[in-house]
């Protein structure tokens, strides 16, 4: 039995194709990207070689300048992350709490709230394009309001918000579902005990339910953060071409429109580093949060 499960040849047949395939298509390109990001731009003349320039592309990326849009793109993505964390997630949590605490036709609400999530973000974006161009102006007309100059999607001040809104709206359902699922899996005796102790409504939510779904909140947070750095579909469709106002867009434009492969690779690597850094940061934060509540609990016990 053990011999059968440890047979080297059968293991190789099961695992090796996947490992090789995965390495060739996912891992090697990532290392190549990193290597390219350390090179100077591919010269126009055939036969010339690109030089190894270490981190010059990375420095260039963050050198302030009128024509360098990347720092602003990063700030914009952080702005989106902020909106997602401080508006979208609390809102989703509120809905999840309401649904999980039992309202009439709970599952109907849940199923319908989730619909935007399964729809392609391309369709969502094109739909919102129509909403911005046709529906909102006519609503403004009814109330005699003045539209922003050039419309929402071209106006400098409203553009970003107009682009963020559809994806914020779309993924409320996803976060809600994740939190709802976690809330539902809290053992009922915990809730019952808290009820007997006189906790209700808001206190129950703040003291019992939210702390107990912390692992899922972490998943939602990293989802928001990583999603904000990778955000591509909605802005790609809603903004005019060659727009570089978000990191993924900037990378795409530099890569496929301007053909600055090294510079674009540096931006791509930056997105990866950013994602990894924030994943690590979240892990540290949540560990501290655990430690903090534990310490406080012990102190209380000692008192």
């Amino acid at each position: 039995m053990k011999r059968v499960l440890s047979n080297k040849w059968s293991i190789a047949v099961f695992v090796l194709p996947t490992v090789l395939f995965f390495t060739y298509i996912v891992i090697i390109p990532i290392f190549k990207s990193f290597y390219y990001s350390l090179l100077s731009e591919i010269p126009a003349k055939v036969g010339d070689q690109s030089e190894f320039v270490w981190f010059e592309n990375y420095i260039k990326m963050f050198t302030p300048g009128r024509r360098n849009a990347f720092p602003e793109a990063v700030l914009n993505s952080l702005y989106y992350a902020g909106l997602s964390i401080f508006v979208q997630l609390p809102f989703s949590l509120l809905i999840a709490l309401i649904l999980a605490n039992g309202v009439k036709s709970e599952s109907l609400y849940r199923n319908l709230f989730f619909i935007p999530v399964v729809i392609s973000s391309v369709v969502i974006s094109l739909l919102w394009q129509r909403i911005y161009k046709d529906l909102v102006p006519s609503i403004y007309e009814i109330f005699h309001l003045t539209l922003p100059k050039n419309g929402f999607l071209a106006n400098k001040d409203t553009k970003l918000m107009a682009v963020f809104l559809p994806s914020l709206w779309q993924f409320v359902g996803y976060h809600m579902l994740l939190m709802y699922g976690a809330l539902k899996s809290i053992p009922t005796d915990v809730i019952e005990a808290a009820t007997v102790d006189g906790a209700g409504g808001v206190r129950m939510a703040l003291r019992i339910q939210i702390p107990m779904i912390k692992p899922m909140l972490k998943v939602c947070l990293s989802f928001s953060l990583i999603g904000s750095f990778k955000l591509f579909d909605t802005p790609w469709i809603l903004l005019e071409r060659a727009n570089k106002s978000l990191p993924a867009l900037s990378m795409y434009v530099e890569m496929f429109s301007n053909h600055k492969y090294s510079y674009a690779s540096a931006q791509a690597m930056f997105i990866v580093f950013e994602c990894l850094a924030f994943t690590v940061l979240l892990n540290i934060l949540f560990k501290d949060w655990d430690g903090f509540t534990l310490r406080r609990g012990r102190r209380r016990l000692a008192a």
Binding site: M1, P17, Y36, S120, V122, W169, I226, K230, Y261
Partner: protein
């Protein structure tokens, strides 16, 4: 639990219903304008039901001007082949990695899981080089889709596969079944629900994907996402047909969701760790 009619309850429901309308209204609106003609929309019937139900918009988007049928077929092929690859390779490597016993299985597992945390932006340009010979074929999209979705498939399967008792293999082994026969005729059938869970997640990812599709799907092999995005440029004036195209593109996922909403929700919960 207290049960009474209270102001709080009414407010709660009002809040939920408002959000419900905000969730469903865009869909209703889409469905309506896919059946109207441009004239009607501009003459003020922006929100109401269409006065005439113009199914010709659908015919127009499907064949004549829009070619949605071609894009749809391409998306179906890409998605179907990707799902076959991820399911088969995912199952086999999950079996090899989590069921069999060998040195270094943890290392290999971590290696593949690390790939999941890295966004595919990072591999984009080198991939265009690697996949250049496959340009304008279905494989140019299928291969990266499959490779990037194998880790999450393995992860979703891992939760299930470790719960199957080892007595299964023991009994099969005593009866003289080889490892491959055991894996494919005894373990695989037990894994079908898990494979379905993973497949639904991957389906939604692949069907809705845009970034890779804009790069690798050009010409005849354009997928729905790229196709309708390009169509929206050409169809600036023909709202009805554009709406019809969007409805056709959405229908497969929407039907899937309506038929098995619970299963779809479970899949997306299981895949959430991917980020």
């Amino acid at each position: 639990m207290k049960k009474k009619f209270s102001l709080g309850k009414v407010a709660t429901h009002a809040f939920l219903i408002v959000w419900l309308l905000l969730c469903v209204f865009p869909l209703y609106w889409l469905l309506c304008f896919s059946l109207k003609d441009t004239q009607e929309i501009f003459n003020g019937n922006l929100i109401g039901l269409p006065t005439q139900w113009l199914f010709s918009n659908y015919a127009n988007a499907w064949g004549a001007g829009g070619n949605i049928s071609v894009f749809l077929m391409n998306s179906v092929i890409d998605t179907a082949v990707t799902l076959c690859i991820t399911s088969l390779m995912g199952f086999m490597s999950a079996y090899g990695l989590l069921r069999m016993r060998w040195k270094g299985q943890k290392v290999v597992m971590t290696y593949i899981m690390m790939g999941m945390m890295i966004p595919m932006h990072a591999a984009l340009y080198p991939l265009t080089e690697t996949l250049l010979p496959l340009n304008k074929t279905y494989w140019a999209l299928i291969i990266p889709y499959a490779a990037f979705n194998i880790p999450i498939t393995i992860l979703i399967l891992s939760g299930f596969i470790t719960n199957i008792p080892y007595e299964m293999e023991e009994a099969a082994c005593i009866d003289g079944s080889g490892i491959f026969r055991t894996a494919f005729t005894i373990i695989l059938p037990m894994m079908v629900p898990a494979i379905a869970t993973a497949a639904i997640f991957v389906f939604l990812q692949v069907w809705n994907e845009l970034l890779l599709a804009t790069i690798f799907a050009s010409g005849k092999v354009r997928t729905l996402t790229v196709g309708i995005q390009q169509m929206s440029g050409q169809y600036q004036t023909d709202y009805g047909s554009m709406g019809a195209a969007l409805v056709i593109a959405t229908l497969p996922t929407l039907v899937l969701y309506m038929c098995m909403s619970g299963q779809v929700q479970r899949s997306l919960i299981a895949g959430a760790v991917k980020g």
